[in-house]
């Protein structure tokens, strides 16, 4: 009878354990937390006042990158969230490229106008889209796409219900 050589288990299990721990190491979470810290520092430096009793649920970002028609639709879509203190709206679009007059309203207390287009350096979101937050960490990033624009809007809307 041939007995399996079990000696490899001596190093195999510890190796698996290391790999497992490595995969679930908090590095990703730390990155997300660090990213979020940068995002909130940016928002607060630019006048965003988070709600005192409710956590910020989402950061909605409007740019003039890529599809102009999508950005125009997105600007109209975002108007209904102006003045919601649980949402931060970052307007990185140049006012020369996109009509952003709705975001200059006095009621728009949750809007940060990113004059120098610096927000794009803070997360992986480079165009218009949404950053969904959970427990003050980045949970999901949605970058708008012309191909699935309606679905993207629907998804964001559902998350905000």
């Amino acid at each position: 009878m041939i007995r399996p050589n079990m000696s490899f288990l001596k190093w195999w299990f510890p190796l698996l354990l290391i790999i497992e721990i490595g995969c679930h190491s908090p590095a990703a979470k730390e990155n997300s937390a660090a990213e979020m810290e940068h995002v909130f520092s940016f928002l607060e430096e630019n006048g965003y006042q988070p709600s005192s009793d409710k956590a910020t649920r989402m950061v909605l970002v409007l740019t003039d990158v890529s599809c102009p028609t999508c950005n125009k639709s997105y600007a109209l879509f975002l108007e209904k969230y102006v003045a919601d203190p649980t949402i931060a709206i970052v307007v990185s679009a140049s006012p020369a490229a996109l009509d952003i007059s709705a975001f200059n309203d006095e009621k728009a207390t949750n809007v940060v106008v990113d004059h120098r287009n610096q927000f794009r350096n803070l997360t992986s979101l480079k165009g218009s889209g949404a950053i969904l937050l959970k427990a003050n960490r980045i949970d999901t990033i949605v970058e708008l796409s012309a191909q699935r624009l309606d679905k993207d809007f629907q998804f964001i809307e559902e998350q905000l219900k």
Partner: protein
């Protein structure tokens, strides 16, 4: 020894011949002063320019913000505001602005984005003339056409005629995103074979005429039939010349006003950089928008050409290839060094001036009587101010003996 005589004579002829060659005289620019206009907005180059007002013979600078504030300001170079014109009528027209050219305070030409309409505003902000270019373009056949003004500003109207670059079969209302690459490929495949220049003449009459030209210009002169020449629509409508140029070439092309076809080619040679971004293959399988951005932001290319009608010179900005820079993030996207090439009226290079990085915007040149204005207020610069127009005025020094 007889043969040496000939060699010596030949050498003398060659030396004398070379030394007698007519080198174009050097022109140069000198910074004179910083100019700032507090406008409440920061205009982009497409909506800025200068014009001579026939009514008083004076030159004015104009800045507009037709998207959000929807205003036009016309000023003297000394900063005196002469006209502040509301363009609120754009709200009811539901149009975005592609092109802007001020002929006078009562003749403000606005070309709509995607929809091929021309509106003429007066100083009260009223539209006194509207031309729908679509029925005229349809007469040409070949599917839908879309017209474009010079990408970084400049004239599209001259002598009662409009001149646009154009492309075919773009979905006018819904510009495809880079994820819709199949649509983009088919668009470019068709556009590559189509007319790429449209001229409308007698525009202030009831019998506007339209004609097209520069058919298949992209494939003939820029990148071959299997490539996409992406990016800006660049052309210069000067006093007596129409010049087509592109990010994808190291040549600019003189176009005949009568045939709308290329009649001559001039090479843009720089001592500091290669010129011309690599075109992208239409059938590239793993085509990504990132590749386009990378190409346009890091390779050397022609950016903007303007005509100085006061001195009869041409200025061409050429941004440098920065792919080998270790601090690439700081110098990409037009923030790196660039050259100002100065050409005489025969398009002979007179000088190449190295411009410092992160200081002057290569896409924002405005000619005025006192010299050349170069924009200094770019969103990417640390000194950016969102409510101002900022320029440096350069005096242009041309040798007295020059034929310019």
């Amino acid at each position: 020894m007889e043969q040496y005589k000939y060699i010596v004579l030949l050498t003398v002829f060659l030396v004398v011949g070379c030394s007698n060659a007519q080198e174009p005289k050097q022109a140069s620019i000198t910074p004179v002063k910083n100019l700032e206009w507090q406008l409440g907005y920061s205009p982009i180059e497409q909506h800025s320019g200068s014009f001579i007002n026939k009514a008083d013979g004076e030159e004015y600078i104009y800045f507009s913000e037709p998207s959000t504030k929807k205003v036009l300001d016309i000023l003297t170079l000394d900063g005196e505001l002469k006209w502040h014109i509301s363009l609120a009528a754009l709200n009811s027209l539901n149009e975005r602005v592609e092109g802007f050219q001020v002929l006078s305070p009562d003749s403000i030409l606005v070309v709509s984005m995607y929809t091929n309409h021309l509106y003429c505003f007066n100083s009260k902000g009223e539209v006194w003339k509207h031309i729908d270019l679509n029925p005229l373009l349809e007469k040409l056949g070949g599917g839908k056409h879309e017209v474009f003004v010079p990408s970084y500003g400049g004239h599209f109207y001259k002598n009662d005629a409009l001149l646009f670059l154009g492309t075919s079969s773009i979905e006018l209302e819904n510009e495809p995103s880079w994820e819709q690459i199949d649509i983009i490929r088919s668009t470019y495949n068709i556009a590559n074979k189509s007319p790429q220049c449209f001229q409308f003449s007698n525009i202030f009459s009831d019998s506007i005429k339209v004609r097209s030209g520069l058919t298949a210009y992209t494939t003939k002169y820029l990148c071959g039939k299997d490539s996409m020449a992406l990016g800006a629509f660049q052309y210069l409508l000067a006093k007596d010349k129409l010049i087509r140029y592109s990010e994808h070439s190291n040549q600019f092309h003189l176009v005949s006003n009568s045939t709308l076809e290329v009649v001559d080619t001039v090479f843009a040679r720089s001592e500091h950089t290669s010129v011309g971004c690599t075109p992208l293959l239409v059938e590239l399988k793993n085509f990504e928008s990132g590749a386009i951005v990378e190409t346009r932001q890091t390779q050397g290319c022609m950016v903007q050409m303007v005509h100085d009608h006061y001195r009869n010179l041409y200025y061409l900005s050429v941004k440098h290839d920065v792919r080998n820079r270790k601090d690439l993030e700081n110098v990409r996207d037009g923030r790196g060094p660039w050259s100002l090439m100065i050409y005489n009226s025969d398009l002979e290079l007179m000088n190449e001036i190295l411009m410092p990085e992160q200081t002057y915007a290569p896409e924002n040149l405005i000619v005025c009587k006192q010299g050349l204005l170069i924009g200094t207020n770019r969103r990417e610069y640390k000194t950016y101010e969102h409510d101002k127009a900022k320029y440096e005025l350069f005096e242009v020094v041309v040798p007295a003996t020059s034929d310019n």
